[in-house]
Symmetry: C2
């Protein structure tokens, strides 16, 4: 039985802290899944092994051999060469120096074709084809998590620019402003990225003595980082520092997303990512409100929506890469008729 008889596809969302692997059928129904922590050491080789292990586990759940999948898609941070599957500048992955042939390495391990795309663009594609973005022809996906990533759909097609488009987190919202983890000044991510917010919370707490329960909540949950769940809990407890930092994040998101809208005038903005999905609808409303004062066409604001696929968007989008490879780009709508 050749791979073309098997409509099953694999999708992997490679994140800075976790790996989410799924196996889906032609209707996007998830038949098997697994979640592994992203290796904190060992570099790209260790990550590739863990991706293979996670996909094998998802395949067991779906009762399929990896080599019988139509293919596997990966949504990866960093700069992705879609032609070769090589990944470089993946600064949210530990010890990822230079370029690594992620696609061919994993294809060799699993015995099936592997396509690689940028994690944020892939999640945006999933929202466009299967999620909150389905009614629209143009949209901006804003993935609010460790960093703030952006994905664009213009006139029904992904817009990648010269390959690296969508860096909405590094739009300047305040000249001479706060230092960003990327090293630049005044980026939106310097105020709204979870990594930047954690660094600032640590400084305010440890160096300036500002009281907060953020790090206590973190330890109680056995975490070493301020995860989205930790932020959500601190907000629920009305922790002052957490509230201040999230307020600043919402302001920066409002200014940055409105700027992008003034330039592009898309039909809809979809808010996803770890923090976006965790904080949910009330924060989508707050971001919409924060955009208001900066929107040039304020008589006709875009729709601003919560991501419809939740945590699975990245992995579902990755699996869509396989349909595209098989069908030629982009995936025909007829192949992806229903939402997960």
């Amino acid at each position: 039985m050749g791979p073309t008889n098997h409509p099953l596809r694999g999708g992997i969302d490679l994140g800075g802290t976790k790996i989410e692997a799924i196996v889906v059928d032609a209707d996007q129904t998830v038949l098997g899944s697994s979640r592994h922590p992203t290796p904190a050491s060992g570099g790209p080789e260790a990550v590739a092994s863990e991706l293979a292990a996670a996909m094998r586990e998802a395949c067991q759940g779906a009762k399929v051999e990896p080599s019988n999948l139509q293919g596997v898609g990966i949504g990866s941070p960093g700069v992705v060469d879609p032609a070769t599957g090589a990944v470089s500048t993946a600064r949210n992955l530990p010890d990822w120096e230079g370029s690594f042939e992620l696609g061919s390495t994993l294809s060799h391990e699993l015995g099936t074709p592997v396509s690689v795309g940028n994690d944020v663009q892939v999640a945006t594609d999933a929202e466009f084809e299967l999620g909150a973005g389905r009614p629209y022809r143009s949209l901006l996906g804003v993935m609010w998590g460790t960093g703030v990533g952006g994905g664009l759909i213009l006139d029904g097609k992904p817009w990648l620019g010269r390959g690296g488009a969508g860096e909405i987190g590094h739009m300047v919202v305040k000249m001479g402003g706060r230092r960003c983890p990327c090293g630049r000044e005044g980026c939106m991510e310097a105020y709204a990225g979870r990594a930047a917010m954690e660094a600032r919370a640590r400084r305010q707490h440890e160096e300036k003595g500002q009281s907060t329960d953020l790090f206590k909540i973190m330890k109680d949950r056995g975490r070493t980082k301020l995860t989205s769940a930790v932020w959500a809990k601190a907000l629920e407890k009305e922790d002052k520092l957490a509230t201040e930092l999230i307020d600043e994040a919402v302001e920066a998101l409002g200014a940055g997303i409105a700027s992008a809208q003034n330039l592009l005038e898309v039909e809809a903005i979809v808010i996803g990512g770890g923090l976006g999905v965790r904080l949910g609808e009330p924060f989508v409303r707050r971001i919409r409100q924060a955009m208001g004062p900066h929107l040039f066409n304020d008589a006709h604001p875009p729709d601003v929506l919560l991501a419809g696929l939740g945590d699975l968007g990245g992995a579902l989008g990755a699996a869509l890469l396989v349909s595209r490879r098989v069908a030629g780009t982009p995936a025909p709508v007829a192949e992806t008729p229903s939402a997960a």
Copy 2:
């Protein structure tokens, strides 16, 4: 002889201070031209009469009757409905309240079809088809003048969003920053638009007593506004206030254009507009430099170029609207083989 036997087209650039009308042949050679001041009173009707007078004068130079033109294109400020030729929210034109049927009014006056497009997008189209943007498939046109407008070409086609895309001047470069003529805070145009710079120069001079030759140069030249030529002269004389304000403008342009590039990753940025064309290549270099610290993909910056069509870009782009209307959109490249 019917209009289809006449390959001549009219193009009008309607600006806040002047009207530029030209007649071109199929090779974009300018056969006749005229320049009129934009009426300071009388509203849209007065503007329409002046546009008609300017076009009749350009036709005399080209020895053609207006009614024998293939058509006339207008590049207008404000929100343009390309289907009807109606123009609204043209806040840089005096007394332009509500919507005005500019296209049909002028078509009636001149006896030839009239197409209307947004001035900035039309100038960007001209640079793409005939000017500095010809080698590229994607570009951002930045028209630096009274305001700061943006035009987008993505994958070889104008990107208009829902009709109002390209408002790069109202991207936020400084949350909580300077008040923009549009009423919002921290827009790029609040620092870089000529109108905002003039208002600030007046305040610094008249209210804060900062010395400057800007207004003396203005009066010596018989002007009532700080035109691009006045700014250029003041810079040449190393006027301190003019230098400070232009330095701030360049910083804001650098941050805002880099933000747009981080989002879109186009191949090229073309700098035009009254101030852009007047200050020329040295300032294009300064803007390129000011973008540097904010560019995410700094290893691969876009080409940043001076507009190639100078002051005529707007009128040439307006004339291209006629080719598009005749041929169906967009104008075939074969019809526009040579630069003006």
